[in-house]
Every structure is written in structure tokens, then in C-alpha cells.
Symmetry: C2
Subunit: 247 residues, 2 copies
């Protein structure tokens, strides 16, 4: 059973401040937790489930201590209006940067993506297209925000995310082309194959790429419009650019 | 000033049942309302704003009666946690179907898109790529849901949406190819240009294209995966398919 102190600690992880203090975060939901449990190097600090969940699934996890909790507590621990039947508390991830990937493949730099659903969706896109490194620039929503984790559908386990400024990235990798979406940019459908690598900058939902970041862009690229909309959603634009760059 | 009955009526439009009963819906926000006011054929039933909004913007609209309301009422009328300073009540739209467009261009059929943010984002994609007809199949969220309207960023004004079953569509347009995304489908990057027209079916977020709808699909298409994600977000997949079909 969970003590009051346990509950207070786990609930605190709904806030970024405490996730950073303890280097832990919460993941909810059967499907995504079943994926986590396939990574033996991830230490499960807590696994908590309702009695109905335990009846259905506990036989699958004989080696994991699972704490049974009632609905009221599950609701307190959950960040969602409809709490899941199961959640885990795990350490934040510390992926390592692979310079070879940055030199020879596509990476993403997110220049202040604020909506958690968009960040999660972008990680899912990266995962789909096998993009292994995503750099989270200043102003980007916390990776461990419950809505990011949920909308990433497990992609946060496979895509390596790093907190980086564009300045540091440009300094550390001076020969890597940095590209940014821009209405005045080159048509992405007309880029030659050798242009389709480097770091793709995705701008903030409302303001696009910041002036500070813009200074580091070598190549401006554009998804041609055929109608009257002013812009595309940031995650949709990311999806289109990644699809074109990968094919 | 708004009477209690006025407030009760407008609030009722937060629910689909009453939107359908009165054929009216609410739109919130300065930017999107400024777009609506550019369409002279849209009758504004109510326009309601806070005093601070009126101070800033009322000089732009000398011919429109705008009702001033306090914060408390604006909050009651709004569907959002952060209510806008201005809202309008307008009639639901009745676009007309253009057979020529269906015969010669791309249209979308949404096979039960449930998330309002996804539907709004898909309309924004259609608007960007100049796709004029979107068919809302059974199980698709209500077009006039406030979150759909908000996330469409004004696209609902330009993209014509119709309630249609795939059966009726296939009957009425027997010669139009109907395409559906499918992991076993043909690579969309390898389709010949003449294959890139017709009706594109977008499946439900969790379950994909229904078995019923599947019977009407002539051509299965696939966005090739390069990583390990199981699927792409429905709106992102729509964006990628539309981008490829338009270029």
C-alpha cells in the first residue's frame, strides 16, 4: 500500500519542478508501460495498478512488485481526466549523443515548441522516420510533461532528446547544414538528394523560428502552399519535411 | 446587454444537440472573427465582446452591433478555460458540392476522426493544399465543436465540408478512385502523377479505416516507415499524403 508520503511524492511529479528535482517522471497506460518493461535498463521505481488491471495483467509480470491501489488514489496520481489503470515512476532518460548520426543523417531542432501534444506528435514522427536525435531548444515544453509522453505513443523511449541551444549546436558541428522552414525558402520538392541532410529547425507554433535562431540557418526551405491557409500546424509541417527528406 | 435567456441560448450552443437544433454555432477570438467579417454572406446573429476589446477594436466595425459584456459572462459563454475577449454566433454553413472538383481534384473522406484538434488540423491542411471538399464520415467529431473551429484557424470558412457515407459517395461517383492509407499499400512516393487524384480516406485515430469503408477502397497507399513507431498521427499522415499528392 502507498503511504501518504508516497502519494505526495508521486503526485509532485506532475510538476516539472519536482520531475527535475528527483529526476523521475510518471508514465500511464497499459500499452506504453508494456513497452517500457521491454527495456531492461529502465529501473521501475514504482508500478501501481488498480485491482481490475492486476487481475487481467499481473501474471505477465511475475518479477515486478506492483502496488495495488483503489480508484480514488489512481485518480489522484494521474494527470488525466480519465486516469489509467496502471502507472509507473521511472528515471528521466540520459541518452548519449552520436556525432556520426549528426554528421550523416537528419536531426531535428525544436525552436520553442510549446504545445505538449505537438512535441509528442513530433517525437512520434521522428520515430516513424527513424530520426534518432531531437534537440529541444529553449522555450520547448518539458519532455516529461504527461501529455508529451502520452501523445508520443512510446517514441520517447527510442528517439534521443537533448537540451541544446542552436548556438552550441552550430559551434559543435560547424559543417552541418542547418535548415529552417520559411515561406521564402526553396521548394522542398526541388531539393537535390545531397541537400536532404543536416539539422531541420522547427519553429514555435505562433511565432515561427526566432530571430536569434534564424542567424544560424544556412538553407531556407518551404512547403509550397496551394490554398489560402496562413500556415501549417508545426507537427504537420515536421511530418511533411521528414517524409520528403527520407524519400 | 444580454438577457438571461440570451445567455442560456448562447451557452446551449456549446453542445452539439443545440447547435443542430438552432443551426448556429459560436466562434471565439479576434483573428478568426476578423476573417468571418470579411464574408458578407455570413449573418452575424450575436457579436459579444469585453469592454477592453471594444476599446481596441470597435472602431473597425462601425456597422456591426456589438454587445458589451463583463468578464464573468464572457467566461460563461466561452468553451475554453481561457475565454476570448470576443465571440460571435453565426449560422452553420451549407456549402454546395462541386462535382467537377470531385472528378478532377483531390478530396478527403474522414472515416471517424474523433479528436477535435485532429479534425481542425486536417481542415487547415486541406486549406493549405487547396483541397476544397472534405467529407465527414460517420463517427467523425462535429465540425462546429469549438475545438475544431479553433484548431482549424479559419479553414472551416474556406474548405467545404459535407456529411456523407462512403457508400453514397461511391455510388454517386462510381468512376472516382478511392484511396486509403494501409501499411501493405503502395509507396506514395512511387505513385505516377495520374494516380494522384480522387478521394483519400483517412482512418480513425485508434482503429484506422473501418471494415465497412475498406470495401470501397480501390487503391491502398502507404507512407513508408524508416523507424519503429507503429503509426503516425492521423492529421500528420493526412498532411504528408496531401503534400505528396499536390507535388
Amino acid at each position: 500500500m502507498l503511504s501518504k508520503a508516497n502519494i505526495k511524492y508521486i503526485r509532485s511529479l506532475q510538476q516539472k519542478k519536482y520531475r527535475q528535482r528527483y529526476d523521475k517522471f510518471i508514465v500511464e497506460g497499459t500499452k506504453i508501460i508494456s513497452e517500457i518493461l521491454q527495456y531492461p535498463n529502465i529501473d521501475i521505481e514504482y508500478m501501481i495498478a488498480s485491482s481490475s488491471w492486476l487481475q487481467k495483467y499481473s501474471h505477465l509480470y511475475p518479477h515486478i512488485p506492483i502496488i495495488e491501489s483503489n480508484e480514488k488514489i489512481m485518480k489522484e496520481l494521474s494527470s488525466f481526466n480519465t486516469p489509467s489503470d496502471v502507472l509507473v515512476v521511472i528515471p528521466t532518460l540520459s541518452p548519449s549523443l552520436d556525432e556520426n548520426i549528426i554528421q550523416n543523417d537528419i536531426s531535428l531542432f525544436l525552436d520553442g515548441i510549446q504545445d505538449p501534444g505537438n512535441l509528442g506528435t513530433i517525437l512520434r514522427i521522428a520515430d516513424w522516420f527513424g530520426i534518432q536525435h531531437v534537440f529541444l531548444g529553449e522555450g520547448t515544453v518539458d519532455l516529461y510533461n504527461p501529455k508529451v509522453i502520452q501523445s508520443s505513443m512510446g517514441a520517447f523511449l527510442r528517439v534521443h532528446c537533448f537540451h541544446y541551444s542552436i548556438e552550441n549546436l552550430a559551434e559543435q558541428f560547424p559543417n552541418i547544414p542547418i535548415m529552417g522552414a520559411d515561406l521564402q525558402g526553396d521548394n522542398i520538392f526541388e531539393l537535390s538528394p545531397e541537400k536532404k541532410k543536416g539539422i531541420i529547425v522547427i519553429g514555435n507554433e505562433g511565432n515561427g523560428i526566432s530571430n536569434e535562431t534564424r542567424k544560424y540557418i544556412h538553407q531556407r526551405i518551404n512547403i509550397p502552399a496551394h490554398g489560402k491557409a496562413e500556415s501549417l500546424n508545426a507537427a504537420v509541417a515536421t511530418g511533411i519535411i521528414c517524409a520528403i527528406f527520407r524519400n
